[in-house]
Symmetry: C2
Subunit: 514 residues, 2 copies
């Protein structure tokens, strides 16, 4: 498999040589060079449409705007796809059928955005009045007017506004990638389908319904997800998976009312002591989870995936310095191994009564921990939760899924109420799939730096849906800058990333045959 | 020493026989039988004076009122004792010198009260408008007018008002005990001194100054503290000591900012895990503190004290049912042993980020525990704290008394910031002291039920001051009902307790010679 890397390196060098010539991708570049002012102005219009997650009317405006952009560019069969539940925000679909193409890709992005608190945005910024600056404001960027034809335009300029990066950039890059090909008389090598979701920030609440209801329309060989940021180095990357996630709340009990720690101390049971002792049985001081079978179901990385992981520059030393800690949770695994190859058992928070100035000299009535379990490929979230519950029982706790009654409190010395949230599994598309290898080559064709191949992100998204509902693997190909303030205030896009993103998506539409 | 108990039992029986006769204590009873209406009305006047802890002007009114009551009853040398600090609320002093008396007792109570929130008081009640009821309102008591001469009067009647129990009852019982003797032509067998403090609810902030500045005036053989409630059974009790107390806050650290539990989970150190593991090393699951030498300095109870403790009815089964838990912290010690003979290591509270609906999928930046250490006789609070700190260091933590710097965070894998509050030691007057035995006999003379002898209360008061500043042991002799709602709303006094209290205090003033 080492050969794969040599091929990649060679492709990279080859692509570099070709950049000066009249290749299809150079034509794409020429297209947006010519149209950049018009594209930026159209993008600004798109960003002016409010798109926060419960603003149904505005989201409908966004869907209409996208459908219009698609139709104007000759994309066929443009329509809104609804779920079966009432109140579903529709997804926008379109397609381009290519005669004789044997591969079909669905390009996915989402047009809804995170909630905004305009007061938290920097002076001069407003979430839905897109504003251009000469650079990131954090790096001393100055406000400028949107450029018109023949104004100088740097690729480091930024556009500020909600969803400028997350994820209208994905929608806009995909649509214009196809347009760039079309306007240059180029035909994609694959059938291209488009799906732009309107409920991603809510947790893709009805995506399963939309997929299930439109299985035939969405039949494809792979999904290309244009979402999330490029690598911190600015290099392009392909992310092959995400971790799954589920939360658990565990509460243990003491007496029914808070007790004076003098009058009852040493006698009444203290739930905070119970909980700390329980938790201490769950993880050792080198970060290894001690719950029986916790790591048993993990699907190991393939050789190719391990090599890809090893080839990624280790961000740990730099991050550790910025985050100011002396030692990672475990000395046995690298940062990338930690977030990619293993499930987690994280304490999101612990609360029992109060501390510091708010503390009283009492024996608390209860102690609660919120645990967050990230899952990797092979884990089943319900099974993983059961391992934890089994462990709690093994430590002598009677486990309930509700508050215990007085009778139960008087019967069982140790009671834990465990409340489990809704979870979902990890998703990981094998890097070894021939189609995955073709996408890698395509993206590598669009850049002279070697593409980062990340077997899985640390975070979670419900990408398992594509595999579970449609039996189609997804790959994530991010287009936006790392420092985009996604989800927070002052969200922004480096405009170079938008144009590079158009090239990346066009490169995938021109997928090599092997 | 078993003989002591036989003697007590015999005294008890003897006192019972004497109650029908013309003993000195029967004269005391006759005194308040005759004067009960006047006494209750004067007490109501006393309770009408607001006395919350920062109301300096009202507290001065109280001090004047008390001084007047004392002078009216022929108590000599009445004066206000000030501390050296500015703003000290003065204590009221007085004395009665008895020719040829070789023993001197100081009778202590306090006249300040806890803050009030009138809105929380039951309808018809107001903290400083004393109100009489036919019983506790909880037991169906009805409001009645203050009784006048010849109205029937039950000893179960209650007076509601702030400090009706805590601790104007102590002040009033002491003053009228002396008056009852005087009006019957009886002379105390001891020199009697009076000290009524005005800053107890603030933590006796300047009591050390008042004691230190007035050492000669306050020279005595023992202090009698009239404060706190009778035993829940209604039986009289003498409390020989209190536990000491000190609080510690321990904070451990993760990264400098909250991190996404997906993007960093398994890699960034989680302070909540660190703290739970640290705490789990401190106490086993049978309530035994595992810190080196934690129990080393404890002065064991004497044989007499152990016997006294064993003679007290065990309240645990009843309390456990009411508090709804199945098992005490330890199966190795009784309730009374737990709160009397051993220091505690209690968790008052733990907080790291949030739980439940407020939780986010993050790795918290810090985790804090507030520990409360109760101390028994023999413990030095500073030494006890050092044992805990030494233990934390032994677990591999670098200990600071302030927030660590970035450089320190990058240097030490485990950092704990330990902030120690101001503490004080326990105080316990030996039950074996001859003078203590005389007080026991005196109190036993005033009741037909055997007096409960409690070697130490579980709670804490700065009683060590009497020993440390004046080298004089204190004994606490409570007078008020157990269900008095002390410190809270609807504070009340069972009027029978006030008259019994007068008898108890008079009995001590008539201290037997051996």
């Amino acid at each position: 498999m080492k050969n794969t890397f040599l091929v990649l390196l060679f492709s990279c060098f080859f692509a570099f040589l070709l950049r000066g010539q009249n290749t299809p991708l150079n034509k794409v570049t020429a297209f947006h060079q010519k149209n950049k002012y018009a594209l930026l102005n159209e993008y600004a219009q798109f960003l002016s449409l409010p798109n926060t997650m419960n603003d149904t009317a505005s989201l409908a405006d966004n869907a209409r705007f996208i459908a219009d952009m698609m139709k104007k560019r000759g994309i066929e069969n443009v329509q809104l796809l609804h779920g079966t539940s009432k109140g579903t925000i529709p997804a926008v679909f379109g397609e381009v059928k290519v005669p004789n193409a044997t591969t079909t890709l669905v390009f996915y992005a989402h047009y809804d955005g995170q909630p905004v608190n305009p007061e938290k945005w920097a002076e001069g910024l407003s979430p839905f009045k897109p504003q251009m600056t000469t650079n990131s404001l954090d790096k001393g960027g100055k406000f400028i007017d949107f450029p018109t034809q023949n104004t100088p335009l740097s690729m480091d300029y930024r556009i500020y506004g909600r969803s400028s990066s997350d994820d209208k950039a994905g929608v806009f890059a995909i649509i214009n990638a196809y347009d760039a090909l079309r306007q240059n008389g180029l035909t994609p090598s694959v059938n291209v389908k488009f799906l732009f979701e309107g409920e991603e920030e809510k947790g893709s609440t009805h995506l399963n319904e939309i997929l299930d209801k439109n299985k035939t329309l969405l039949k494809a060989d792979m999904w290309i997800i244009a979402d999330g940021p490029l690598h911190a180095s600015g290099r392009k990357q392909i992310v092959f998976g995400v971790r799954g996630d589920v939360n658990m709340n565990v509460t243990v009990y003491g007496a029914k009312r808070p007790l004076h720690s003098g009058n009852y101390g040493n006698w009444a049971p203290n739930p905070a002591w119970k909980l700390t002792r329980l938790l201490a049985t769950m993880k050792d001081d080198n970060g290894r989870v001690l719950i029986d079978g916790f790591y048993d179901d993990v699907t190991p990385l393939s050789k190719l995936e391990r090599e890809a992981l090893a080839a990624i520059p280790d961000p740990a030393p730099m991050m550790q310095k910025e985050l100011a800690f002396a030692q990672a949770e475990s000395t046995e695994r690298t940062f990338l191994e930690s977030i990619t190859t293993l499930p987690t058992l994280n304490i999101n928070g612990i609360v029992s009564a109060n501390v510091g100035k708010l503390a009283s000299n009492i024996i608390p009535i209860m102690a609660t921990v919120t645990l967050d379990l990230r899952l990797v490929k092979g884990n089943n979230w319900e099974k993983q939760v059961q391992k934890v519950i089994k462990h709690i029982k093994k430590q002598g706790f009677e486990v309930f899924d509700r508050e215990p009654t007085n009778e139960e409190r008087l019967k069982f010395p140790n009671i834990a109420t465990v409340k489990v949230g809704t979870g979902y599994n990890a998703q990981r598309t094998s890097m070894d799939l021939p189609l995955a290898q073709r996408v890698i080559k395509a993206v590598q064709n669009s850049t002279k730096e070697s593409v980062i191949l990340m077997p899985s992100a640390g975070g979670s998204l419900p990408l398992y849906l594509f595999e579970e509902v449609l039996n189609t693997p997804p790959l994530t190909v991010p287009v936006v800058n790392y420092d985009n303030n996604q989800h927070g205030e002052n969200e922004n896009l480096r405009i170079g990333c938008l144009f590079d993103g158009i090239e990346t998506m066009a490169a995938i539409m021109l997928l090599p045959t092997k």
